[in-house]
């Protein structure tokens, strides 16, 4: 018996050794004939802007003939799972996209390369070329760990045809929650499955709505401040649009359909969504426009930034940095983005930005810039995805009428404490 076991173990060891041998042989560095090959991993290019990304890469390769960029794409929902697994497997892409919320977590774990020295040596790039706030968003501990490429925000999108039919005045920049709800009540036509307004009842929407009422989910030190009167009022506003007033579709009305599709179908008069939808809404068979968001005690707008970071483990950091700087600050990248309305390049050069304002739809593109005056950054706390999952779960209970908004906030207060003390 013992012998059998011994033979078994020897064979398994042999097997493992031979496999390990194979894998080391396979991974040779791809730098023949002075050509450096780097991998770029992106979420914002898919599904609508793959063409544009290829154009930018081509322009980059033309300027840097010794560098080849291989792009890998993954939808946002799967992106971070893939990225994290690649990093764990010592197989990280040389340069990859990070949104602001996730940037801090990656920087704090030492997975990103410090780009400061590359920036100092780079004659073609000067931080002045970029929006200062956005550039600084990618600093951690005083070091530059990323290059901001674009930003985006969320606006009030509205279907002009539905407003005209219902004889309701278009939204204005002075709108408050009450104005929006009053308009939505007139616009809602439940018999035909048309609703006045829609915003997801989730954490991502809530922290902004709370800010429109002077509330915060976390204070400046990162301590949870979820259970406050301001936040309660914000949650009540969001929930009651569905439960009390019926001006927003309930989860069962939606039953798995995307709010963007409902808007395209002409079933939503107002939709709160990001300016990254401009491209997709281009061809809808009705007139639409955007306006800054309604507030309550004050205005508040989402602010999302995307940037490129270089892997700390990459052996081709310089080439990777060059590409990151190109995506971030080059005129070619910015022009391509502007032309396709692929978010907003974070550059300061007005000559390049002005075509963005001239394009239609929507007419009122100026709102994109007006919204920047009242931006609220996404909370950056550890365990953010767990906290938002728990929050969304509890919000669902409020939408289903199983719990009141008060009860939900009480539960969340203790849940947050549990999670953050682990």
């Amino acid at each position: 018996m013992l012998k059998k076991v011994a033979v078994f173990i020897v064979f398994s060891l042999l097997a493992m050794v031979s496999l390990v041998g194979c894998s080391t042989e396979g991974s040779t560095e791809g730098s023949e004939d002075g050509q450096t090959e780097i991998t770029y991993f992106s979420f914002s290019a898919t599904p609508d802007y793959e063409e544009e990304l290829n154009q930018i890469i081509e322009a980059f390769e033309e300027e840097n003939p010794d560098i080849t960029v291989n792009s890998e794409l993954a939808a946002y929902d799967d992106y971070f799972t893939k990225l994290q697994t690649q990093i764990a497997g010592d197989n990280a892409p040389d340069v990859f996209e990070l949104n602001y919320e996730n940037f801090v977590q990656y920087a704090s774990k030492g997975t990103l390369a410090d780009l400061s020295s590359f920036i100092d040596e780079d004659d073609s790039f000067n931080p002045d070329q970029l929006n200062e706030e956005a550039f600084k968003a990618y600093q951690y501990d005083g070091k530059q760990y990323g290059m901001v490429e674009s930003f985006s925000n969320v606006l009030t999108f509205y279907n002009k045809d539905l407003f005209d039919e219902a004889g309701v005045d278009y939204p204005t920049s002075d709108w408050t929650w009450e104005d929006e709800r009053a308009a939505a009540e007139k616009l809602t036509d439940q018999g035909n499955n048309v609703w006045g307004t829609y915003a997801p009842v989730t954490m991502n929407e809530f922290y902004k709505v709370a800010a429109q009422n002077g509330g915060q989910v976390f204070d400046d030190e990162g301590n949870p401040t979820i259970n406050t009167p301001e936040n309660l009022e914000a949650l009540q506003y969001m929930v009651e649009n569905v439960t009390e007033y019926g001006v927003s579709p309930s989860p069962s009305d939606m039953s798995g359909q995307a709010s963007e599709d409902l808007f395209k179908n002409g079933q939503l008069a107002i939709l709160h969504t990001g300016i990254w939808m401009f491209g997709q809404f281009e061809d809808v068979p009705f007139e639409w426009d955007v306006e800054v968001e309604a507030g309550n005690t004050q205005k508040a707008h989402h602010f999302f930034a995307n940037g490129l970071a270089v892997s700390a483990d990459s052996e081709k950091q310089e080439a990777a940095y060059k590409f990151a700087a190109f995506m971030s600050a080059s005129d070619q990248a910015a022009e391509t983005r502007v032309e396709a309305s692929w978010e907003l390049p974070a550059i300061t050069n007005d000559d390049i930005l002005s075509p963005y304002l001239e394009q239609t739809p929507p007419e009122n593109r100026q709102a994109v810039f007006e919204a920047l005056d009242s931006l609220v950054l996404p909370p950056v706390v550890e365990n953010w995805s767990r906290i938002s999952d728990v929050t969304n779960q509890e919000f669902e209970k409020a939408l289903n009428g199983d719990q009141t908004p008060e009860e939900v906030l009480n539960t969340l207060e203790s849940e947050y404490e549990n999670i953050m003390n682990q």
Partner: protein, 291 residues
């Protein structure tokens, strides 16, 4: 192999087993061991490994989320297992008789089994749609306002159970059909001569003699149902309000959404222990039953 020494036989045995063994060791054996090690760490995939002793297991016992997933999984099993066994046996009994188009019906019942869970889940999601779905439409024809199905925490699990039982009925049916073949027709002949009714024959001959098959089906279905995941992930993502979050879903969330690999590995081992205990109990029962 005549003329070979035992040692030589063993050597050749290993050679022939090698391809399979290799795959098993690399893709199953090693990861299982690794997950055991990881379950004693707080690894987040990115930082280096830090051993935290049995912290993860202590946290597990105190974690209400884990116990909710545990409860939801048992809820699923209590609904799913009897349903799939009864449907599967009924289908097997029906299709065991000589009849027209028998092969066609057998294939039809088996079709859902070989269909991917993703496709099945998406179709059921539409069937369950409270406003436009076929099920609530049919209910409305007979004057019943259908429930909110997957949107309501109290009916979402029922929806998952029904869809799962529908999909796996064909699998259970095939196993029972195999079991029915092993019962000698002479028992039934004898029973008919003695004047036993069909029902009597079913209860006194078919079901007792199917016991080994029933045992096998129960174990397989139980182990599978502890690992229920695909349909939940696609149909409800564990919602609404966490009412369908099962154990594997919870493990998935911690591993690939919150990147707490250590804690997720500990939960996987807890799941393994639960499955092991149940299988062991069933084995014991079976031993007694067989004697």
């Amino acid at each position: 192999m005549v003329g070979m020494t035992k040692k030589k036989t063993l050597f050749w045995l290993c050679i022939f087993l090698l391809p399979n063994l290799l795959g098993f060791l690399i893709f199953i054996g090693a990861p299982i061991l690794a997950s055991l090690v990881i379950s004693f760490t707080n690894w987040d995939l990115v930082s280096s490994l830090q051993f935290t002793g049995i912290d993860n297991y202590i946290r597990l016992v105190q974690d209400p989320e884990f116990w909710r997933a545990f409860r939801n999984t048992f809820l699923f099993i209590f609904g799913y297992l009897p349903l799939v066994m009864i449907f599967g046996l009924a289908a097997a009994l029906l299709l065991n008789k000589p009849m027209k188009l028998r092969a066609f019906f057998r294939a039809t019942y088996f079709l859902p089994v070989i269909t991917s869970w993703v496709a099945v889940s998406l179709v059921w999601k539409w069937l369950y749609n409270p406003n436009y779905g076929l099920i609530n439409y049919l209910l409305s024809l007979i004057g019943i306002t259908g429930p909110q199905w997957l949107n309501d925490p109290s009916t979402a699990m029922i929806g998952i159970i029904l869809a799962s039982a529908w999909k796996d009925t064909g699998f259970v049916m095939v196993l029972f059909l195999g079991g029915l073949q092993t019962i000698s027709p002479s028992y039934y002949e004898a029973a008919s001569i003695d004047g036993a009714s069909k029902l009597r024959q079913l209860l006194s001959i078919t079901i007792p003699l199917l016991a080994p098959t029933t045992f096998f089906v129960t174990i397989i279905s139980l182990i599978n149902s502890f690992q229920v995941f695909d349909q939940v992930m696609i149909m409800t993502e564990g919602g609404p309000g966490g009412s369908t979050t099962v154990m594997v879903q919870n493990i998935y969330n911690y591993a690939f959404r919150y990147f707490e690999m250590g804690y997720a590995a500990a939960m996987s081992w807890a799941l393994f222990i639960v499955i092991f205990i149940f299988t062991y109990i069933q084995m014991k029962f079976q031993d007694k039953g067989a004697v």
